[in-house]
């Protein structure tokens, strides 16, 4: 106790020594703060560079996309003339051996059905649709009359085929038949802003034979001018793609993208607003970390 009191007394008397200690300690604190701050930040930036080096992104392929996927009805067909004999609308969603059967009505022996279809405008905005196609796969037991495809015209409020590339109808043969029509530039009259389109199938005119019609597939799709990019992440880090370039000798087009590709995975990315140029062009993708990969075509 006496020693401690003695030390305390001598410390109080020797104030010059005390101030030296305070100055040294404060200086040390400042130096430690500077050094630790710099070292920690350096560590972070080294990690950033290391992650960038570990990233390996490649563009596997770039292909033109001219058609959307098929959109099929999600509800039962309305039978205006004739009757349903077997199956359901579910059998008309895929091209396979399952079909939905209909039969012409009793005299005047005619069939008239229509279904509701919907193009997904969140994937294929109307601004990027160039036309619409309707395709029917069907079979009849009487090949003596023509069959027609029409769509509801939201402007004239009636079913019509005005503007279709084929308004002459289709004469079936024995077995399964494909009948497709393109709505050409008139497509917008037949598609609502939410992508809804009503399609009608009907026969030519009343005839002596009461025909049975089997529909295997009926669908609509959009005609577009887009591109499908396939990205492959060969690195050990998840890659975030932020920028896509489509360049040729006359134009350099940049698109903001937000695509995350896990390590080792392949990701297909479709754009309907990206038109691939004719001839030679270069596609470039940039990651958030700053890596770039190039794909050259043509």
């Amino acid at each position: 106790m006496q020693t401690i009191i003695g030390r305390h007394r001598s410390l109080r008397q020797n104030r010059q020594g005390l101030s030296n200690i305070i100055v040294v300690v404060l200086s040390l604190v400042i130096i430690v703060v500077i050094v630790s701050n710099v070292i920690l930040w350096s560590y972070q930036m080294n990690q950033l560079d290391w992650e960038k080096m570990q990233e390996s992104m490649t563009i596997s392929s770039v292909t033109r996309v001219t058609r959307s996927s098929w959109y099929v009805t999600q509800s039962e067909y309305a039978v205006n003339l004739g009757s349903r004999t077997n199956g359901s609308y579910l059998y008309t969603q895929v091209v396979d051996s399952n079909y939905e059967g209909f039969r012409e009505s009793a005299p005047p022996r005619s069939l008239d059905i229509n279904g509701t279809f919907s193009i997904d405008v969140t994937i294929y905005p109307l601004a990027y649709i160039q036309s619409v196609e309707i395709q029917l796969r069907y079979k009849v037991d009487d090949t003596g009359e023509k069959w027609y495809l029409k769509a509801y015209n939201w402007a004239s409020l009636t079913y019509s085929d005005i503007g279709f590339n084929n308004t002459a109808g289709h004469t079936p043969s024995a077995g399964w038949n494909y009948y497709a029509v393109n709505l050409t530039s008139q497509w917008s009259s037949y598609v609502q802003s939410n992508g809804k389109i009503l399609v009608k199938v009907h026969d030519q005119q009343p005839d002596p034979t009461r025909t049975n019609v089997d529909i295997d597939f009926l669908g609509v799709r959009a005609v577009i001018n887009g591109a499908l990019f396939t990205f492959q992440n060969k690195g050990s880090r998840t890659a975030h793609l932020v920028s896509l370039w489509v360049n040729n000798s006359t134009e350099h087009k940049r698109y903001d993208i937000d695509v995350v590709v896990n390590s080792g995975e392949t990701f297909s990315y479709q754009r309907v607003d990206t038109q691939l140029p004719n001839g030679q062009y270069t596609v470039k993708v940039v990651t958030e970390r700053g890596n770039t990969d190039i794909y050259t075509e043509g």
Partner: protein
């Protein structure tokens, strides 16, 4: 009151202590500010990264698309074409931002140019680019 004025020996230690405290506080403030400034500058210098996404040769102009991939804001201070400073549109980018900077330059077709971009902190990105034929 008169007594206090006469006893100057009592006031002097108080004044000296106050003065010393003021000096000590001011000194520490300067030291802390200097520390903040020094480390801040070091951090900014170390955290600056950017890439050239695209270089596009158009008539009388070389357009350079830059992306800030670092952790600090950056400002383009100079663009050099074949080691000569050229006039360009000013560009400042926050982290993750990107944009064009147009360099006024009369390039000739099918020629290789060395283009260097320097930031206000001295970070440089340089590469060779061939103009279209």
């Amino acid at each position: 009151m008169l007594k206090m004025w006469r006893n100057k020996r009592a006031i002097t230690p108080v004044l000296s202590n106050v003065l010393l405290m003021v000096i000590a506080v001011a000194g520490m403030s300067i030291a802390i500010t200097a520390t903040y400034v020094i480390t801040g500058n070091l951090r900014d210098n170390m955290g600056e990264r950017f890439i050239v996404e695209d270089v596009w040769f158009t008539t009388g102009t070389i357009s350079i698309y830059l992306r800030n991939t670092g952790k600090t804001a950056m400002h383009i201070a100079g663009v050099y074409v074949n080691y000569t400073a050229e006039s360009f549109t000013q560009l400042s980018l926050e982290p993750l931002e990107h944009g064009w900077s147009n360099v006024t330059y009369s390039w000739t077709a099918n020629t290789v140019y060395h283009i260097k971009i320097a930031t206000s902190r001295g970070t440089q990105v340089a590469d060779y680019y061939r103009s279209p034929s």
